[in-house]
């Protein structure tokens, strides 16, 4: 089904999947709806991985241009949000390959681990990750960044290396060390 010009597909009942298939059909209105729904959280999440707002905006733009071109490849399996994030994080990796960041504030804007100790956070994390949260929190920033890039953002070793500005081999060794540390923590 294609959306006619008079319909503005902003209605709540239109799912992201519907929008993606309309985008695959060449609808810029559907692309705009998708953008309005997802641009904010993508910007926030990207900003946690890149301190330069200009690069974040560029990556956001590249992401939706890529969504436009490859919407037809979305299979309908899995969360569209996850699919879009997958594009965004890889565009960020590409952006870093073009202009390597001077410093690496990545994944580590705030190192104040005391935050985790607040009652509210402990409840939240207990629900989401159990003991793992505490264990992760005690990892060194370098190891934690590797765990985040590979486990939570789903990047390959090579991509994680580009994002973090270290060789792929280093990512591998850090990941091994992180696993060992986590195992030890959880076994306690």
């Amino acid at each position: 089904m294609t959306l006619t010009a008079t319909e503005r597909p902003m209605e709540e009942h239109v799912t992201d999947g519907d929008l993606l298939s309309a985008v695959a059909d060449g609808s810029t209105a559907a692309l705009e709806s998708l953008y309005r729904r997802h641009a904010s959280w993508l910007t926030v999440r990207l900003s946690r991985r890149c301190a330069d707002p200009a690069i974040v905006d560029e990556v956001l733009q590249d992401t939706f241009v890529a969504v436009w071109k490859s919407a037809g490849r979305y299979t309908g399996q899995g969360e569209p949000a996850a699919w879009i994030w997958g594009i965004a994080i890889r565009r960020l990796v590409d952006a870093f390959r073009r202009t390597p960041p001077a410093a690496y504030p990545l994944y580590d804007h705030v190192t104040d681990l005391n935050l985790i100790e607040s009652a509210e956070d402990r409840v939240l994390l207990g629900v989401e990750h159990g003991d793992l949260a505490g264990a992760l929190g005690r990892l060194s920033p370098e190891l934690r960044a590797v765990v985040q890039a590979t486990v939570l953002d789903g990047l390959t070793t090579r991509e994680a290396g580009r994002l973090l500005g270290v060789p792929a081999g280093t990512v591998k060794t850090r990941m091994m060390r992180a696993r060992a540390a986590l195992r030890k923590e959880l076994a306690r």
Partner: protein, 289 residues
């Protein structure tokens, strides 16, 4: 009120056939409708007004300029939007590319500003969402609106539209009328049609054209008034009427010279139009051989 178009005694001949035969036309800001049967010379007149065609003789001033003079012509073209009768686009273009191509021809410099203008006019005619569709994939009504979109580029002070409502469905026609009324605000629109409803809905001025001449020029109300005392209803068909048709209630609507004691009714624009064309036409306004 500024006179946008001032034409006196325009003549344009193709061989022996005189498409324009001493036509006069005055247009000011607002919407002027050219009403007439096929072959009346409407398209020829609009092509002359659009500077595509030069008249053989007659005086013509458009926006105060002479279209025969290259400088004057350029000035007119810079303030002109034109929808030809068969506005075509490369079928391999997207809707966006098609309008963008015309925007370049209309001297919209600076790619970014031009693209924004293209998006604006596509939005005006409700084609934003098919901007990336190929022209060949658009419906007939959409292509017609695409033609209208390119005419709106740069908000021209003179819009020349040849049969703009042809091929539009009733809903699109209503939206089109809104668009034209809006475009006619403070600007000049000249359009041709053979729909008297279009004239009643949007035109502030109407000119009835037949055989390359203007038979009438005035407001739609004045046009309807031409048929005052010439329209009547009767229970039987009156063979002396110029035109007549059966109404739903079993009575007949007649236009012509009413017999004594006939039951006269208020005339419509259509009545007056048919009366002006004379007895030799059928109800679609086509001339009968």
């Amino acid at each position: 009120m500024n006179t946008t178009i001032d034409a006196r005694g325009l003549v344009k001949a193709y061989g022996r056939h005189r498409a324009l035969d001493g036509l006069d036309l005055t247009s000011t800001t607002g919407v002027t409708g050219l009403l007439g049967p096929n072959g009346a010379g409407k398209t020829t007149l609009l092509r002359v007004l659009a500077t595509v065609l030069a008249a053989d003789s007659g005086d013509l001033r458009i926006l105060g300029k002479d279209p025969h003079d290259p400088e004057g012509r350029l000035h007119i073209r810079r303030s002109l939007g034109y929808l030809p009768q068969d506005a075509g686009f490369h079928r391999g273009f997207t809707a966006f590319e098609a309008v963008d191509y015309v925007a370049v021809l209309k001297e919209h410099t600076g790619a970014r500003a031009r693209h924004d203008e293209v998006r604006r006019v596509l939005d005006r005619v409700g084609l934003s969402d098919v901007a990336n569709k190929k022209v060949r994939a658009l419906s007939g009504g959409m292509r017609r609106r695409l033609g209208l979109a390119q005419a709106l580029l740069g908000t021209p002070s003179l819009l020349v539209l040849d049969e703009p409502t042809a091929g539009l469905d009733p809903e699109q026609r209503m939206r089109f009328r809104d668009l034209v009324s809006e475009a006619g605000h403070g600007k000049t629109v000249v359009l041709s049609t053979h729909q008297t409803e279009d004239v009643a809905a949007v035109c502030s001025h109407v000119v009835v054209v037949k055989n390359g001449r203007a038979l009438f020029a005035g407001t739609p109300t004045e046009l309807a008034a031409v048929a005052t005392g010439r329209v009547w209803v009767d229970t039987d068909r009156d063979p002396r009427a110029y035109a007549g048709w059966r109404l739903g209630a079993g009575t007949y609507h007649h236009i012509g010279d009413p017999p004594a004691g006939a039951q006269l009714v208020d005339p419509t624009i259509e009545d007056a139009y048919l009366l002006l064309l004379g007895p030799q036409v059928d109800l679609e306004g086509r001339e009968v051989a």
